[in-house]
């Protein structure tokens, strides 16, 4: 179990972390979600001791992280990269050795991974001779080669096409199913929503809400109704509900979490063409909890998304 407890970090006048905390458990995929500039990268770097914290602690299996622990961690930083002129086979072996693997184990794992990726013939190629997709795969292999117990991935879906997102999701799922503790960050809440077992939402350096996906969705205390009347006509929200927006006659409303669909519809006059009552999306939870949307915060912070 990875526990991140109350991290504080200032860079001059800028508060990067203001009490960020999270807990990740073996066998589960934790999505660490928030806008760019909210402190995700700083938190993840702190796991590897790459930040001098002002306060707070990172614990692995109920103890402070040691150098030996780091060997069993896998890290895919947001700033991805490999040695451009070094053959990929040698590069993977090297990274395996840096994680404490014996020469033979590193060799075997490299062979296995390259074969799995369909790159067995290209062990002697340099990174920049590979296609973009293959580079991404080798990068992931570099983080996974030593079979880490904890895997930390910073924006693993950044720059991936839809097929890449699907493949990455499947890989992370498989790792968690095999018992690894997996933490990944993303600012694209919609993209990763379905993948998470657990969710921590961070804004302005502090975790705002955490729990299982269902818990987090329920936390805002509201559900979402989408309703379109026949002909796309106007509509008066029933008492207790709150109109969010209207698009092409589809009204989107925030309703209390205990709303009953049958009771709700009884209040509506006229023929209903479309209707749904669902828990809020994570972006909606974010807005409810933080009080502003992800994009708005990124724009305010002047951070490119």
């Amino acid at each position: 179990m990875l526990e991140i407890l109350g991290l504080q970090k200032r860079y001059g006048d800028v508060v990067a972390l203001d009490g960020a905390s999270l807990t990740a458990r073996p066998g589960r995929l934790l999505g660490f979600l928030g806008p760019n500039g909210s402190g995700k990268t700083t938190t993840m770097r702190a796991v590897f001791g790459l930040v001098q914290l002002d306060a707070g602690e990172v614990r692995w299996r109920q103890a402070a992280v040691t150098s030996e622990d780091l060997l069993r961690f896998g890290y895919m930083p947001e700033q991805r990269g490999l040695y451009p002129r070094m053959p990929i086979g040698r590069q993977l072996r090297y990274l395996g050795r840096l994680h404490g693997m014996s020469p033979l184990d590193a060799e075997a794992a490299t062979g296995r991974w390259l074969a799995d990726l369909g790159l067995a013939e290209r062990a002697g190629d340099r990174v920049n001779q590979l296609s973009h997709g293959n580079q991404q795969r080798v990068q992931l292999a570099a983080a996974l080669l030593h079979d880490p117990e904890l895997l930390v991935l910073d924006e693993p879906f950044g720059g991936l096409d839809p097929l890449g997102v699907e493949a990455m999701s499947a890989t992370l799922r498989a790792l968690a199913d095999a018992g690894a503790t997996v933490v990944f960050s993303s600012h694209q809440l919609d993209l990763v929503e379905e993948l998470c077992d657990d969710v921590v939402i961070i804004a302005a350096g502090r975790d705002r809400i955490a729990g299982t996906l269902a818990e987090v969705r329920a936390a805002s205390g509201t559900y979402r109704v989408r309703i379109r009347l026949a002909g796309g006509g106007g509509f008066t929200p029933p008492p207790g509900s709150h109109l969010l927006d209207v698009q092409d006659g589809v009204h989107r409303l925030a309703v209390p979490g205990d709303t009953d669909a049958r009771a709700f519809l009884a209040e509506v006059d006229g023929a209903v063409e479309r209707f749904s009552l669902e828990p809020p999306r994570l972006t909606e939870v974010f807005r409810d909890v933080v009080g502003a949307g992800v994009e708005e915060l990124e724009a305010d912070a002047g951070v490119a998304s």
Binding site: R45, F48, G49, L50, V51, Q52, S67, E68, L70, L71, F73, G74, Y75, M76, P77, Q79, R80, G81, L82, Y83, P84, R85, M86, Y94, L95, R97, L98, H99, G100, A142, A143
Partner: protein
């Protein structure tokens, strides 16, 4: 995994990376070829260009003269062939046929057209006077051996400058070796310093650095690099020195002065203790920016320091190896690696100064590595371009 294991892994990777780098291999080969050529080509040309005279002597001339004239010729690096002729007729025949430059008859030096090179005239004159002096000394009661000893006991003149200071008394070969050692150190430090600079930039610009830092501590990464590049620098020096010695042995350009062995040992020691000083700072400069142009600017003061030291040694230390400047530069860590070998080559430094300079340089290098480690650790994950001051103020990680 211990720190030492991590350092060894890094050093192994860095060394293989250099040895597989074509520019590095070609650079080293070019350096070797240049040094060998600098020795072999003059060695070959020397045979063709040095003065070569053919002197005839008649039967009447004694062995004392021929021995003397040969000795005088070899002392002046003149290639002289002496041929014995039966009589004057044979001399005339040989001169007419152009087989000889001149024939010594006892009191006359005969040549075709009376045109004898000055050098040859001088050699014959000196040998003739010497032969006569020995004969006179024998007549006065000395035996030949005593007479020769008497002549040789006269010391060569002492050369002094305007203030009456003696000439340093080193041979041209030693001056050449001092110069060569300085140039070699300069090139080795520049090449490998730049190689560390670009290596660090590559890690930053390719962004592999943060992947590495997942397990590696910055100081282990730095230590591994310095270890590998020191070994590479020593290998390059070994290759160049071995090439130079072999080439010289093959063509015999000059006789290696007795100080050669000491010079090689001291050069290697000064590289071991002094290279790291520059290497650490070059690596840090490379870690401060992902752009090669910015890095050149950041490393500018460093490069100026290396070039400035090189110039000081060439223009201040070698001409006056026991002067105040030379003595001061001996005890400063950045300048000692250049100054000490030059002074050793000129035999113008006491042993205690060599030992003290090596110790001071070692301490200086250790401080540079400590400082470098801190700056490196602060610069590695910093975005954009740092200055030296900025790197000092930035927060080191781990």
């Amino acid at each position: 995994m211990s720190g030492w294991q991590a350092i060894r892994l890094v050093a192994g990777r860095e060394a293989v990376d250099r040895l597989r780098n074509r520019a590095f291999v070609f650079g080293t080969v070019a350096m070797l070829v240049a040094v060998v050529a600098a020795i072999v080509i003059p060695g070959i040309l020397a045979d063709d260009e040095g003065p070569r005279y053919r002197l005839g002597v008649t039967e009447a001339i004694g062995d004392g003269f021929t021995t003397s004239v040969q000795l005088a010729a070899s002392a002046q690096d003149v290639d002289l062939v002496v041929t014995r002729l039966t009589d004057e007729d044979a001399a005339v025949e040989a001169l007419t046929a152009g087989e000889l430059d001149a024939v010594f008859l006892g009191d006359e030096l005969m040549s075709e057209g009376g045109d004898v090179p000055f050098t040859l005239v001088g050699l014959v004159d000196a040998a003739r006077s010497q032969t006569r002096l020995i004969a006179e000394a024998e007549r006065l009661g000395l035996d030949e051996a005593e007479a020769v000893q008497l002549l040789e006991s006269a010391e060569g003149v002492q050369i002094v400058d305007l203030e009456g200071v003696e000439d340093d008394g080193f041979s041209p070969e030693q001056a050449l070796m001092a110069f060569a050692a300085t140039v070699l150190l300069f090139i080795i430090i520049q090449i490998n310093g730049n190689s560390l600079l670009t290596g660090a930039i590559e890690e930053k610009s390719s962004r592999v650095i943060e992947v590495l830092l997942g397990t590696l501590r910055p100081r282990h990464l730095l230590a591994g690099k310095l270890l590998a590049l020191t070994a590479i620098a020593l290998t390059q020096i070994g290759v160049v020195i071995a090439g130079a010695l072999l080439a010289n042995a093959a063509v015999g350009l000059f006789e290696a002065p007795p100080v050669t062995a000491t010079l090689i040992v001291v050069t290697v020691i000064m590289v071991v203790v002094g290279f790291v000083f520059y290497a650490a700072l070059y690596t840090v400069a490379g870690s401060m920016t992902p752009s090669i142009e910015d890095a050149q600017a950041i490393a500018g003061p460093l490069a100026m320091g290396v070039i400035g030291t090189y110039m000081l040694v060439i223009f201040a230390v070698i001409p006056s190896p026991e002067g105040t400047a030379a003595r001061i530069l001996t005890f400063l860590p950045p300048t000692a690696p250049f100054t000490v070998p030059a002074r050793v080559a000129l035999e113008a430094i006491p042993a205690w100064q060599v030992v003290t300079a090596a110790a001071i340089t070692l301490v200086g290098s250790w401080l540079a590595v400590r400082l470098g480690g801190r700056l490196y650790s602060a610069a590695l994950l910093a975005g954009g371009k740092l200055t030296w001051r900025g790197a000092w103020r930035a927060e080191p990680i781990r």
